[in-house]
Amino acid sequence: MTYFVFFLGACFVIGILGVASNPSPYYGVVGLVLASVAGCGWLLSLGVSFVALVLFMVYLGGMLVVFVYSVALAAEPFPEAWGDWRVAGYAGALAAVVLVGLVLGGVVGSWGFGVVTVDSVGMFVVRLDFSGVAMLYSRGVGMFLVAGWGLLLTLFVVLELVRGLSRGAIRAV
Protein backbone atom coordinates (compact mmCIF):
# COMPACT_ATOMS: atom_id res chain seq x y z
CA MET A 1 0.00 0.00 0.00
CA THR A 2 2.89 2.30 0.73
CA TYR A 3 4.33 1.66 -2.70
CA PHE A 4 0.99 2.46 -4.28
CA VAL A 5 1.05 5.91 -2.66
CA PHE A 6 4.61 6.40 -3.90
CA PHE A 7 3.51 5.36 -7.39
CA LEU A 8 0.81 8.04 -7.26
CA GLY A 9 3.43 10.53 -6.12
CA ALA A 10 5.59 9.55 -9.09
CA CYS A 11 2.62 9.95 -11.47
CA PHE A 12 2.09 13.41 -9.96
CA VAL A 13 5.65 14.43 -10.79
CA ILE A 14 5.47 12.91 -14.29
CA GLY A 15 2.27 14.80 -15.04
CA ILE A 16 3.83 18.05 -13.85
CA LEU A 17 6.91 17.35 -15.97
CA GLY A 18 4.61 16.87 -18.94
CA VAL A 19 3.23 20.38 -18.46
CA ALA A 20 6.51 22.07 -17.52
CA SER A 21 8.16 20.97 -20.77
CA ASN A 22 5.69 23.38 -22.44
CA PRO A 23 4.18 21.37 -25.27
CA SER A 24 1.25 22.77 -27.19
CA PRO A 25 -1.49 23.66 -24.64
CA TYR A 26 -3.75 20.88 -25.89
CA TYR A 27 -1.26 18.35 -24.51
CA GLY A 28 -0.30 20.45 -21.52
CA VAL A 29 -3.85 20.16 -20.22
CA VAL A 30 -3.58 16.36 -20.46
CA GLY A 31 -0.53 16.51 -18.21
CA LEU A 32 -2.38 18.75 -15.77
CA VAL A 33 -5.35 16.35 -15.66
CA LEU A 34 -2.98 13.43 -14.98
CA ALA A 35 -1.28 15.39 -12.19
CA SER A 36 -4.63 16.34 -10.61
CA VAL A 37 -5.96 12.78 -10.76
CA ALA A 38 -2.73 11.43 -9.26
CA GLY A 39 -2.76 14.09 -6.55
CA CYS A 40 -6.40 13.35 -5.79
CA GLY A 41 -5.69 9.60 -5.54
CA TRP A 42 -2.72 10.38 -3.33
CA LEU A 43 -4.86 12.38 -0.93
CA LEU A 44 -7.51 9.65 -1.00
CA SER A 45 -4.93 7.01 -0.10
CA LEU A 46 -3.84 9.11 2.84
CA GLY A 47 -7.39 9.29 4.12
CA VAL A 48 -8.41 12.93 3.59
CA SER A 49 -11.24 12.08 1.22
CA PHE A 50 -13.10 15.38 1.62
CA VAL A 51 -10.16 17.51 0.55
CA ALA A 52 -9.56 15.12 -2.36
CA LEU A 53 -13.17 15.53 -3.46
CA VAL A 54 -12.89 19.31 -3.21
CA LEU A 55 -9.78 19.17 -5.37
CA PHE A 56 -11.52 17.00 -7.92
CA MET A 57 -14.66 19.07 -8.23
CA VAL A 58 -13.32 22.59 -7.87
CA TYR A 59 -10.00 22.14 -9.60
CA LEU A 60 -10.72 19.55 -12.27
CA GLY A 61 -14.39 20.19 -12.77
CA GLY A 62 -14.29 23.98 -12.48
CA MET A 63 -10.98 25.56 -13.25
CA LEU A 64 -9.63 23.02 -15.67
CA VAL A 65 -12.78 23.01 -17.76
CA VAL A 66 -12.47 26.78 -18.14
CA PHE A 67 -8.82 26.32 -19.10
CA VAL A 68 -9.70 23.72 -21.70
CA TYR A 69 -12.17 26.10 -23.29
CA SER A 70 -9.58 28.88 -23.31
CA VAL A 71 -7.02 26.61 -24.94
CA ALA A 72 -9.03 27.11 -28.11
CA LEU A 73 -7.34 30.53 -28.31
CA ALA A 74 -4.02 28.76 -28.82
CA ALA A 75 -5.00 27.02 -32.04
CA GLU A 76 -2.12 26.33 -34.37
CA PRO A 77 -1.83 24.09 -37.43
CA PHE A 78 0.97 21.84 -36.11
CA PRO A 79 0.71 21.43 -32.33
CA GLU A 80 3.84 20.10 -30.65
CA ALA A 81 3.33 17.04 -28.50
CA TRP A 82 5.93 15.39 -26.31
CA GLY A 83 7.37 13.46 -29.26
CA ASP A 84 8.66 16.69 -30.77
CA TRP A 85 12.38 17.08 -30.21
CA ARG A 86 12.05 20.57 -28.75
CA VAL A 87 9.53 19.54 -26.09
CA ALA A 88 11.40 16.31 -25.33
CA GLY A 89 14.61 18.31 -24.94
CA TYR A 90 12.94 20.66 -22.45
CA ALA A 91 11.50 17.68 -20.54
CA GLY A 92 14.88 15.96 -20.39
CA ALA A 93 16.66 19.12 -19.29
CA LEU A 94 14.11 19.83 -16.55
CA ALA A 95 14.29 16.24 -15.27
CA ALA A 96 18.10 16.42 -15.30
CA VAL A 97 18.06 19.68 -13.34
CA VAL A 98 15.79 18.18 -10.68
CA LEU A 99 17.88 14.99 -10.46
CA VAL A 100 21.13 16.95 -10.11
CA GLY A 101 19.52 19.04 -7.40
CA LEU A 102 18.40 15.88 -5.61
CA VAL A 103 21.84 14.30 -5.72
CA LEU A 104 23.62 17.48 -4.66
CA GLY A 105 21.13 18.09 -1.89
CA GLY A 106 21.89 14.70 -0.42
CA VAL A 107 18.29 13.62 -0.64
CA VAL A 108 18.85 10.35 -2.48
CA GLY A 109 21.05 8.88 0.21
CA SER A 110 18.73 9.33 3.17
CA TRP A 111 15.20 8.12 2.42
CA GLY A 112 12.73 7.77 5.23
CA PHE A 113 9.84 5.52 4.38
CA GLY A 114 6.53 5.76 6.05
CA VAL A 115 3.04 7.09 5.44
CA VAL A 116 0.80 8.65 8.07
CA THR A 117 -2.96 8.41 7.61
CA VAL A 118 -5.99 9.82 9.34
CA ASP A 119 -7.99 6.61 9.72
CA SER A 120 -9.60 7.32 13.04
CA VAL A 121 -11.04 4.05 14.18
CA GLY A 122 -9.92 4.63 17.71
CA MET A 123 -10.63 7.73 19.69
CA PHE A 124 -11.98 10.12 17.10
CA VAL A 125 -15.59 9.97 15.98
CA VAL A 126 -15.31 12.62 13.28
CA ARG A 127 -12.69 12.46 10.53
CA LEU A 128 -9.93 15.00 10.45
CA ASP A 129 -10.68 16.74 7.17
CA PHE A 130 -14.45 16.93 7.58
CA SER A 131 -14.17 18.54 10.99
CA GLY A 132 -11.34 20.78 9.83
CA VAL A 133 -13.15 22.24 6.85
CA ALA A 134 -16.33 22.58 8.88
CA MET A 135 -14.35 24.85 11.17
CA LEU A 136 -14.11 27.30 8.27
CA TYR A 137 -17.75 28.15 8.80
CA SER A 138 -17.69 28.35 12.60
CA ARG A 139 -14.32 29.60 13.86
CA GLY A 140 -12.94 30.85 10.56
CA VAL A 141 -15.98 32.81 9.50
CA GLY A 142 -13.93 35.96 9.03
CA MET A 143 -11.66 34.27 6.50
CA PHE A 144 -14.69 32.71 4.86
CA LEU A 145 -16.24 36.14 4.32
CA VAL A 146 -12.95 37.57 3.06
CA ALA A 147 -12.60 34.73 0.56
CA GLY A 148 -16.17 35.24 -0.63
CA TRP A 149 -15.54 38.95 -1.02
CA GLY A 150 -12.39 38.20 -2.98
CA LEU A 151 -14.29 35.95 -5.35
CA LEU A 152 -16.91 38.62 -5.95
CA LEU A 153 -14.17 41.17 -6.57
CA THR A 154 -12.51 38.83 -9.06
CA LEU A 155 -15.73 38.62 -11.00
CA PHE A 156 -15.70 42.38 -11.53
CA VAL A 157 -11.98 42.35 -12.33
CA VAL A 158 -12.56 39.79 -15.07
CA LEU A 159 -15.52 41.72 -16.43
CA GLU A 160 -13.45 44.87 -16.67
CA LEU A 161 -10.49 43.10 -18.29
CA VAL A 162 -12.51 41.58 -21.11
CA ARG A 163 -14.82 44.52 -21.67
CA GLY A 164 -13.12 45.72 -24.79
CA LEU A 165 -14.14 48.36 -27.29
CA SER A 166 -13.04 51.54 -25.47
CA ARG A 167 -13.47 50.76 -21.80
CA GLY A 168 -11.09 47.76 -21.74
CA ALA A 169 -7.74 47.53 -20.02
CA ILE A 170 -5.83 46.05 -22.96
CA ARG A 171 -7.36 46.94 -26.26
CA ALA A 172 -5.85 48.50 -29.36
CA VAL A 173 -9.07 49.66 -30.95
Binding site: V13, I16, A35, V98, L102, L128, V133, L136, G150, R171
Partner: protein
Protein backbone atom coordinates in the same frame (compact mmCIF):
# COMPACT_ATOMS: atom_id res chain seq x y z
CA UNK B 1 13.26 14.09 2.99
CA UNK B 2 10.43 11.60 2.90
CA UNK B 3 9.49 10.54 -0.63
CA UNK B 4 6.06 12.17 -0.55
CA UNK B 5 7.50 15.52 0.47
CA UNK B 6 10.05 15.07 -2.27
CA UNK B 7 7.24 14.44 -4.72
CA UNK B 8 5.37 17.70 -4.28
CA UNK B 9 8.57 19.68 -3.78
CA UNK B 10 10.02 18.50 -7.08
CA UNK B 11 6.62 19.13 -8.73
CA UNK B 12 6.77 22.70 -7.43
CA UNK B 13 10.32 23.19 -8.70
CA UNK B 14 9.49 21.67 -12.08
CA UNK B 15 6.46 23.88 -12.67
CA UNK B 16 8.40 26.96 -11.54
CA UNK B 17 11.14 26.11 -14.05
CA UNK B 18 8.49 25.50 -16.68
CA UNK B 19 7.08 28.96 -16.03
CA UNK B 20 10.54 30.53 -16.19
CA UNK B 21 11.57 28.77 -19.42
CA UNK B 22 8.34 29.41 -21.23
CA UNK B 23 8.23 28.89 -24.96
CA UNK B 24 5.51 30.22 -27.22
CA UNK B 25 2.06 30.24 -25.68
CA UNK B 26 0.76 32.31 -22.79
CA UNK B 27 -1.68 29.48 -21.98
CA UNK B 28 1.24 27.13 -21.30
CA UNK B 29 2.68 29.61 -18.80
CA UNK B 30 -0.73 29.87 -17.11
CA UNK B 31 -0.92 26.06 -16.95
CA UNK B 32 2.46 25.99 -15.19
CA UNK B 33 1.10 28.57 -12.73
CA UNK B 34 -1.85 26.26 -12.06
CA UNK B 35 0.57 23.41 -11.46
CA UNK B 36 2.39 25.52 -8.87
CA UNK B 37 -0.91 26.02 -7.06
CA UNK B 38 -1.76 22.31 -7.32
CA UNK B 39 1.55 21.21 -5.82
CA UNK B 40 1.14 23.79 -3.05
CA UNK B 41 -2.37 22.49 -2.38
CA UNK B 42 -1.18 18.91 -2.04
CA UNK B 43 1.75 19.98 0.12
CA UNK B 44 -0.46 22.04 2.42
CA UNK B 45 -2.87 19.11 2.76
CA UNK B 46 0.00 16.92 3.97
CA UNK B 47 0.44 19.20 6.99
CA UNK B 48 -2.82 18.41 8.85
CA UNK B 49 -2.36 14.72 8.03
CA UNK B 50 1.11 14.53 9.51
CA UNK B 51 0.59 16.82 12.46
CA UNK B 52 -2.97 15.65 13.13
CA UNK B 53 -4.28 19.22 13.42
CA UNK B 54 -7.76 19.36 11.86
CA UNK B 55 -7.99 23.14 11.88
CA UNK B 56 -5.20 23.49 9.35
CA UNK B 57 -7.37 21.82 6.73
CA UNK B 58 -8.93 25.25 6.19
CA UNK B 59 -5.73 26.56 4.58
CA UNK B 60 -5.75 24.36 1.45
CA UNK B 61 -9.40 25.25 0.87
CA UNK B 62 -8.67 28.97 1.13
CA UNK B 63 -5.68 28.60 -1.18
CA UNK B 64 -7.85 26.79 -3.71
CA UNK B 65 -10.32 29.68 -3.57
CA UNK B 66 -7.68 32.29 -4.30
CA UNK B 67 -6.11 30.07 -6.93
CA UNK B 68 -9.46 30.02 -8.71
CA UNK B 69 -9.51 33.84 -8.58
CA UNK B 70 -6.02 33.98 -10.01
CA UNK B 71 -6.81 31.49 -12.78
CA UNK B 72 -9.85 33.53 -13.80
CA UNK B 73 -7.86 36.74 -13.88
CA UNK B 74 -5.06 35.08 -15.87
CA UNK B 75 -7.52 33.79 -18.43
CA UNK B 76 -9.11 37.24 -18.71
CA UNK B 77 -5.66 38.68 -19.43
CA UNK B 78 -5.16 35.93 -22.01
CA UNK B 79 -8.43 36.82 -23.73
CA UNK B 80 -7.64 40.54 -23.66
CA UNK B 81 -4.14 40.08 -25.09
CA UNK B 82 -5.44 37.70 -27.76
CA UNK B 83 -7.97 40.32 -28.81
CA UNK B 84 -5.21 42.91 -29.07
CA UNK B 85 -2.43 40.91 -30.70
CA UNK B 86 -4.37 38.28 -32.57
CA UNK B 87 -2.68 35.31 -30.87
CA UNK B 88 -1.41 34.43 -27.43
CA UNK B 89 2.23 34.16 -28.45
CA UNK B 90 4.50 35.54 -25.79
CA UNK B 91 6.85 37.27 -28.21
CA UNK B 92 3.99 39.61 -29.09
CA UNK B 93 4.11 41.11 -25.60
CA UNK B 94 7.09 43.33 -26.39
CA UNK B 95 5.84 46.88 -25.92
CA UNK B 96 8.44 47.58 -23.27
CA UNK B 97 11.35 46.39 -25.34
CA UNK B 98 13.67 49.05 -26.65
Amino acid sequence: MSPLHLSFYSAFVLSRLGLAFHRTHLVSALLCLENIMLSMFVGLTMWPIENQTPSFTIVPIIILTFSACEAGTGLAILVASTRTHGSDHLHNLNLLQS
